[in-house]
Symmetry: D2
Subunit: 341 residues, 4 copies
């Protein structure tokens, strides 16, 4: 049975795997101090046009969010995020486990806006009781969002501006960063992301790697003794090379962006196919995740032949479903799917 | 320059890598629910002769210790461990970060004994003030220890017995489990480890895998909602298959044990070579880590040609050094080293 | 200047103080094991008609919420609460600091309802991804609420029922419990509170005591080693007698209820006075906190003579203000206030 | 039965109680912003001869240690303390609960020394693996110690010096500060304590107050948003006046020191009496806690008439016992005790 259930269904991109094979028996040092990780960092710095960036490789998305947020925030601070943000909903309380409140803001299509952030923070400081409340200490957004949508350059600039106004960092969760940047709807580059954020991460797990996320501190703002903090979270890989080598390959010859573009193309073909057959979009995503409203009957019928995710209930007879493409999606599978609907 | 600095210098064993390559493009589900992980669990259950065991795959050692200890302990409990135990010394306070005290016991050659555990706990309960103290809620040992030494079957039985007496679990850190079991000095099997402990883990990172540890709950005692707890620690791999596939291969045709034996053989050849040349053992390790007392002069000389770890200062002129072998150590490198000393 | 700023403006009720004076030099044991605390517990058990209840004395409200919630919840659980609940808004992230998420529900006049709780929990369990989400492990409500409003017996029964349905405890924050129960609008007794909740606390700080809250576990459900957990939170008073003696007096001759009734009477007189002079209620509170919508101009004028709390902005020209009465409020001060408006 | 079980057997000193009574009905603001607390702070600043000190009132000792240590340390840091220190042994893991490891140093008569601290820290930084270890971020000592002993001015200066050398704060737990300073063996004043430490606290609970400790930050080093952090720990008293008023009285007319001296005098009379009757000192304490080695038989006999604390087992027939005096100890009770032995 073919699957569009998520974007981590297969192993790694062939080239990434090849690089792992080629380097396999070379001895190198541990905990991310290896030469591969060093080279990968240089490649990423070049890509983001920021030679002073500080880069670290971690294993997965929730881990990265927890380590970054917990390391950057003061203890009296929480993190502002969309009520639909990954840290708000699907990380099993990992942020709270590390002691911090997620301060939820209302969202539209997965996005928050600078005005709401500004109002939240100014209201907070205007409140005579704010010493009894959680200080807003960071803004967290996902690019693309959990609903596949994208912030425009203008929206990101506004968010960046309001963060500067209150001197708090803007953190961009880029678990699917490539799928955002490769979208025709994107009006930002990875260099813009680096410029507009204070810290962001480049997702590898969902884009070509077996595992791994690259955290980028863009403003000489890596937390003090960050290696120790990573270790304290149980997040320091002994064989740090595993992630370093993969990012080295992903950032060689634009691989990360090429394979991201493929995924987006497959998603758009899928979307067009659904629309042409009269299906209803739940929202209009320009990236690798596509959301439709299907009847329960249609869902049951399709599930005998294709895997996909049921997202949420619309009414007693309909649900929002998600089809995800990835670097590994074949056009053949898209055609098979479209033939089925 | 050849290196004996640690046992995670290379990538993965060739067969493990091959299995990753062969399965790479097969679609499977995420978060450890894939069929490879399922098969790997069956292989491990067979190896430990415990069909009812509950097995989970995590990424690294400190992460595993933190997740297991934090998930098993009640909040009012701490974990008893050797003062030289990994959780006591080299995990950056990961156990305390998750809220629990490491209750340190004196050690000899990295080992604690049942009598000291018994005395600690009985003294604790005899103390009228024990409600103001941290309850001893688990015993943690490493097999082999951080100094390469091994507990005998009798010693493990005694520890198991005292844990049963006080109804607390015995947790065995098996980051180098294979290197212990493959030692000629070992008088236990992996089935014994499973029988005598309540929870243990089988180290993959140091024995043939790119990353990964297999946690085994042996007494129908997996913590409730353990998936959620793993997620909360940021330790749930999206592509759980990455670790599952590797353990599937490691537990096929005895690979885990065969490659462990190789490492131990290389270590013994190294040890014999050093002894024959008159070097002083720091302690007599029968496993893959070998500790010697070398003069600073000798250390400086050797360091120009070989990498190894300086462990601790003995006096102003001498240090304890460690040479580690692994599944990847070549006999050629051993010969080169022995020729140098 | 007279003040209605809050309900903790003075020290303790005269009788409470007298009891402290009378017992002052009697030697007794520490940490809540003293005979006064024992007697106070018996008095409370009689008042709540539950001889099997387990009672503990803590110092303040946020401390009590943190200790109870953190001790009762499993690590994978969060606590459901009104978005206006004290733990959601005004405890500086104390619940998150201890590792747990506050799962906010929409509220009306400070209250949540059983249907919303039921929907939240059933939706949670129906979600295929719920292992990646925070488990709802407790329902927290305040009686009276932060807006002075009261749950009816029927509403409490429904909440109790839905908690039983999902086997999670109902925790009632009674920081102002007396002011709720003494209200003419209340259709429950303290025995009903004990019967319908799994754990609740009787607020002393705001009702006659210098400090202190009495936590009551009503269903043989005191957390194991609770003394140790209290100590771990830094919440175990050496001179536990301080709180024990005060509750002993508060629960002698109905003092707790008598002085609560006085506060409510003063509040109703205040409310009536405001209404008669044409002021607008923000909401209709039947307890000791009264909320009005005043113009900024009126606020500025009044603030020269009376202290009260500005609660939130309504529009550019109006704010919600709160006047609180307490056991210590004099009718003279009410008259003075009413003469001013 | 008379008791020497501890130093918190009674309520408050008569004058402290009187001040509470006199101020009882005066309305004042909450959370430590009241005028009494302000006056008390001024009195303390005068006593310590440090007009720039920042002072906060908390409720109890473990709470104070947890709040101070957790607020001052970075997340990657632990606190160095004697293995017999209160935070190491008798706080139920409160420091670890807040995420920090207590790094235990060997002690003699409850004291650590500057050389051991220096060696610990220099060894730590010399260790190539120190990024995997807990950073020593503070030194904690008790004055007097848990065994009633005192650091000399020279010892404190050395500790202060080594802390400055490594730029970490020296924190002095003064739960029994008065009983130390009032000892004839003391060669420091409270001004010296303030000068030599970075933060210390003045214990009230054990010296004349119903509850309360005064934390003093002596070097313009109060943690940012400390009110919020106190609240987050559940340690912010609504009626902060309760502690403020007590310290105001304790620091009026030298009361704190006068009543401390009385306690020490009673302790010395007790010690002399025991020695004259041939009893063996466990160690020679010059403060309010006196430790003797008694036979089990003697202990059993005495326990029928006097309460005291059994501290630890010496051998099968002997135990260390502690007799504590306080501001409230009467000479009559001392005489009764001495007549019994």
């Amino acid at each position: 049975m073919i699957s569009f259930e998520n974007d981590y269904l297969e192993g790694a991109h062939e080239k990434v795997l090849t690089r792992l094979i080629e380097t396999n028996m070379i001895q190198d040092s541990g905990y991310g101090t290896d030469s591969f990780s060093q080279q990968a960092k240089e490649k990423i710095k070049a890509a983001i046009q920021n030679p002073d960036a500080s880069i670290r490789f971690l294993v997965g998305g929730t881990q990265t969010n927890q380590v970054v947020i917990n390391s950057v925030l003061h203890q009296y601070e929480g993190v502002l995020a969309a009520d639909t943000g990954h840290i708000s909903t699907h990380e099993a309380g990992a942020i709270e486990f590390s002691g911090h409140k997620v301060l939820e803001l209302p969202s539209v299509d997965g996005k928050i806006n600078a005005t709401d952030v500004d109002n939240y923070i100014s209201t907070f400081y205007a409140d005579a009781n704010h010493q009894h409340m959680v200080f807003p200490g960071m803004v967290y957004i996902s690019y693309p969002t959990e609903y596949g949508t994208l912030y425009s350059h203008e929206e990101l600039e506004s968010l960046s501006h309001v963060c500067k106004k209150y001197d708090i960092p803007l953190f961009i969760d880029g678990a699917r960063l490539g799928y955002g940047l490769a979208s025709k709807a994107a009006d930002v580059t990875i260099a813009d992301i680096a410029k507009l954020s204070d810290v962001f991460y480049i997702g590898g797990t969902k884009i070509g790697a077996l595992c791994g996320e690259a955290v980028v501190f863009t403003k000489n703002n890596e937390p003090k003794h960050f290696t120790n903090l990573i270790k304290q979270h149980g997040a320091l890989l002994a064989k740090g090379r595993l992630v370093g080598i993969q990012f080295l390959e992903l950032f060689t010859d634009n691989l990360y962006f090429t394979i991201s573009e493929h995924a987006v193309n497959m998603a758009l073909k899928l979307k067009t196919g659904f629309i042409e057959k009269g299906y209803q979009l739940y929202l209009d995503s320009p990236t690798n995740q596509q959301f439709f409203v299907l009847s329960n009957e249609k869902i049951a019928e399709l599930q005998t032949k294709v895997k996909f995710a049921c997202w949420e209930k619309v009414d007693d007879n309909h649900q929002v479903v998600r089809f995800a493409t990835s670097w590994a999606t074949t056009e053949e599978n898209i055609d098979t799917l479209l033939a089925l609907i």
